[in-house]
């Protein structure tokens, strides 16, 4: 049961009666009037037990977009339903009108439009819908909460999408006729064409030239159908917020851009998220749209406060592909985590694959390092220097072992990782 502001106003109007006829009679009388009116209204209200609900939701939505989330209310009772309806979405779903007023004639259905503006990636949930059915006087209402769980998967925003056209163009430039600029831009034979000035003389195909009596060069294109395996670390280091987003979200952006780029370059993309176990996996063998599969797999990921188990990695990689692949490890270069976890398993990986370690660099450290106004500042600068030196040492060690390292601030990481992929592809190292 619930009451409306009208009943309160009616009660306030009773003050007039109390002033005109002071005494217990008017108080009790007016209370009786209120109770009778509320009871009458309750008795005449459409039963919320006979209301059927249907939520109309899209399969998934992107962050930063408005999502229509309507409720269809079917009134199975014999009376008109005057209802206030609330869908109990979690606050970060950003419901614009949590309470919706609706009138449904007997036996009919009405749609209560609603809009969600998600503030967070992941699975957003609602547990129940509450229906408050007012009587014809609008004084009192019968209320019922119907358990009706619902989930909306909010995909990562993929803001680095804007880099994709430029990177794809560069990928095409090294494709096909790229023998002018780059010797060794791929090792796969593509076609023969006439020599133009500036072509590398080493790429002249003498046999064909003899046949045509015209100088002919061979062109190569980068290898296609190579495997790119993106491994995303979701352990405690991914929970760190750098600038305004957690390391995990930056890693997701970078992985999405790299995945789309590699698909554009004709490679097969596999994705694995792991900490102490595999948390998400996207297989290159499946047919559906890669972007939606990647985004769908990444959406519910959250950083866990546990240490990553890098010894899982060789097993995961070999289960994906036994061929030589590009393994892109999106993790952090924190000295402790890398030295104890990654370094022991790296030689085994490097023996077979090309390994790129991508990490988000904290620009706040550079800021702290150069601020030296007071003693506290200088101690903080010293600590920042120590962190940067440790990172540099880890980076140097990884590089000396043969891995590639991309260590960039949040907004730079996705395009820089894409550049690294293009460079590796151009130099035929895939």
């Amino acid at each position: 049961m619930a009451i409306s502001s009208r009943l309160v106003l009616l009660a306030a109007a009773g003050a007039v009666a109390v002033v005109l006829f002071p005494g217990p009679v008017s108080i009790l009388g007016w209370l009786g009037v209120l109770a009778a009116a509320a009871a009458l209204d309750l008795a005449l209200a459409a039963s919320p037990l006979k209301v059927r609900l249907e939520r109309v939701l899209p399969e998934s939505a992107r962050l930063d977009e408005d999502v229509p989330a309507a409720l269809v209310v079917r009134n199975g009772s014999g009376r008109t339903l005057h209802a206030v309806i609330r869908d109990a979405w979690q606050p970060s779903a950003g419901q614009l009108q949590p309470q919706r007023r609706l009138t449904v004639p007997a036996g009919e259905a009405r749609r209560a439009p609603g809009t969600l503006r998600p503030e967070r990636r992941g699975d957003l949930r609602t547990a129940s819908v509450t229906v408050r059915s007012f009587g014809p006087l609008g004084l009192a209402a019968r209320q019922r909460t119907v358990p009706y769980p619902g989930t909306l998967r909010v995909l990562p925003p993929f803001r680095s999408r804007r880099h994709l056209p430029a990177k794809l163009r560069r990928l095409r430039e090294i494709d096909g006729n790229a023998s002018v600029q780059l010797r060794g831009a791929g090792t796969e034979f593509d076609s023969l064409r006439d020599y133009v000035r500036g072509d590398d003389v080493r790429s002249i195909d003498w046999r064909a030239t003899a046949r045509r009596r015209d100088t002919v060069v061979r062109t190569w294109r980068p290898e296609r159908d190579r495997r790119v395996i993106i491994a995303l670390d979701t352990s405690r280091t991914a929970a760190a917020r750098i600038l305004d987003e957690p390391r995990l979200d930056t890693g997701i952006e970078a992985a999405l851009l790299l995945g789309m780029l590699a698909q554009g370059g004709g490679d097969r993309v596999d994705f694995v998220a792991f900490d102490r176990r595999v948390r998400a996996r996207v297989d290159s063998a499946a047919k559906a749209n890669l972007l939606s599969r990647l985004a769908g797999a990444m959406a519910p990921l959250d950083a866990e406060l546990i240490e990553a188990d890098f010894s899982l990695l060789p097993g995961i990689i070999s289960s994906v592909s036994s061929r030589r692949s590009l393994v892109v490890l999106v993790t952090s270069l924190d000295a402790g985590a890398v030295e104890e976890g990654l370094l022991p398993v790296l030689p085994a990986l490097l023996a077979k694959h090309v390994v790129v370690v991508a990490s988000v660099r904290d620009p706040a450290l550079d800021d702290l390092r150069s601020r030296r106004g007071s003693a506290a500042d200088v101690f903080r600068a010293a600590a920042a220097e120590r962190a940067l030196l440790d990172r540099a040492a880890v980076t140097a060690q990884l590089k000396s072992m043969g891995a590639e390292v991309v260590d960039e601030p949040p907004y730079e990481l996705p395009p820089k990782l894409a550049d690294m992929y293009i460079r590796l592809k151009a130099s035929g190292r895939l």
Binding site: Q90, Y148, A239, R241, D302, D334, L368, A382
Partner: protein, 406 residues
Amino acid sequence: MSGAAVETAAGHAVGGNVSGTSAGPSRLRRRFRAWRLWIILALVLAGGVVLSLLTSTSADRTPLSAGNPSPNGAQALVRVLGERGVDVVQAPDFDSALRALDAQDATLLFFDPNEYLGAGQLAELRAAAGKAVLVEPTFAQLRGLAPGISQAGLVPEETVETGEVTGPRCADPAAEAAGTVSAGGLAYRGPVTCFPVTGGAGEPAGLFAAEEDGSAAVLGYSGLLANGTITENGNAALALRSLGSAGTLVWYLPVPSDIPAGDAPANPFSLLPDWVDPLLVWVVVVAAIAAFWRGRRLGPLAMEPMPVVVRASETADGRARLYQDSRALDRAAANLRAGTMVRLAARLRLGPGSTSAAVVEAAARSTGRPASEIDALLNRHAPANDSDLVTWSQELLYLEEEITES
């Protein structure tokens, strides 16, 4: 309420069917949760009723009341008087007191510390009463009931501290029978003054005073009659003799309703119109209804699962505080030096494996400053205190900037 099945669009029945198969206790608990508010309200109401029943014993707590058995009451005296054959009439108000006095020649016990009665009423009492015994009377009461007796102020403190006043030093038989009484209250002066408490100079004033003709007597101390102290000294003798002289005793303690209309002080609340109190009650009722209106939630609260997010530079901050708290100047200096060295080596294109001597030499060449000065700055200096560390680290930064700009 949840007995009927509510079907959601997903096609599964929620309510009766589902909960029917689930365990009984959980259903009971759910039912209990739904009715919890009402159960709590009922318990609170029941508790309030029980509490008010327990506390509302209609015990008489008025001082010197004939029915009051507590130390400040006078039930003991009244009982003893009754046993001695005195007819004690307890008058609840002025009219009944007058009636009781009119009926027979009676003694009046009068105790009115709040001065409820006016001069006219006092005169009526005097006319009706054969003998009036006043307890701690005020000036107006004396004038109305015992004009021959006057007030003489408080009993001096040193007398109160001794606790008793000996020797009636007067010819009143009741006082002579008592001999000694407890000290306290007020002193009075009259044609017969007993138990004097003020000094010898001038007319003495005492705890007991009486008119010459015995039409009025004054007891200066209510403790002479009270249950708590009546057994001390000769209190009981004085009380019994002065009150038990006639066959009937009218025990009259004026109450607020005896205040004569007109000359009572106006109660400011009585000036308000009579609808104010009901209106206040109604405002409380409306407030309760409004509280229910605002307080009723539209369904349960929604939970927000919060992901773990840590500020990335927290480790650096923590380490900085450790340095500062342990005053690790050398370690901080070593970090700053190493950072500068690495960046200078990169800037001067010396490669990662170069020695510090090579860096110093290259820096000196780049800046034009003497190598010894740069060597002292980079390698030889060990900051002694915080301020030294600050200036030294700033010099390192200047050197870096100088080389970066060159």
